[in-house]
Amino acid sequence: MSKMTENDVLQILEHALEITSGSIGPDALAENVLNWDSMGHLSILVALDKMFEGKVAEISEIAEANSVQKIFAALRQYSLI
């Protein structure tokens, strides 16, 4: 699998939250994004886990990642992006 980019991750987030493409920016906070509640967060994590072939399930920090930047940081830390 070729390495994913931050833009790819943004698209996964939008798809998981069932919101319009292009509506999340890299600085978005969960509290300001439609559908990004606890269930939405789980949908994001399930989608990322699928995309990264089960590697996201092991990242414990990602449970509290309540912004796009924190998600990027967690994925970077595990060299997934």
């Binding site: 606890s38 269930m39 967060h41 789980l42 994590l45 399930a57 990602i62």
Partner: protein
Amino acid sequence: MTQHTEFNFPLNSEREITLTSAPGAFMPTGTTKLLIDAVQRKIVKPVSLLDLGCGTGVVGLALHLHGLVKSPLYASDLSEPGVSCSKINLKRYECVSEVRNGSLFEPWLGNKFDVIVDDISGIAQEVAAVSPWFQGVPCKSGKDGTSLVADIIRQAPQYLTKQGQFFFPLISLSNVDILLNTAKENFNTIEMVARQEWPLPDELKQHMSLLERLSDEGCIKLKKKFGMFLWYTEIYCAYNV
């Protein structure tokens, strides 16, 4: 005097329905929505349908609005406010119905249905007491959450027509293994038709020691994933053919 409140429930991605609730009537949860979607996918034509544990009547009403219920819709609940709200909600959407008050199958002795949809989902009693889902609503489901649901599963076959189908949710905040075994003892075929994992609500996160104890005792199942504890709902369709 009963204080009624109104809330919206998503029927599908394009339409919401407005429902009346009252203290003591069970409010729809994520499991309710999962159950409706699963039944909707499985039923292909209008059927005689019993909404067991109808709460505000949302399950039967949603299936009626999807054109899947042969008139009248049958529904029952132990909660009198639930029965009262169901009548209001079904009338609002012109759903011809027969709504009865009573425990489990008690109101339906001698009746048979093509489809029974059970939204009485038991969870371990100690969990129910601290959860956000049963405020003012009885949940006498025993230590491992199985007693009510096991009774329903055992009784369901005698209320089904020959080709009848019984839909029920299992929640991992109860002992799902016992309930699945009960279902296998009473039905030839059991199919899982939907599954959803959920994060613990904040109210339950405050009681992790209780949850961990019940998990150690085998009363509930929790899974650690993404650095958080998850529980799940599975929807089953059971039948004897």
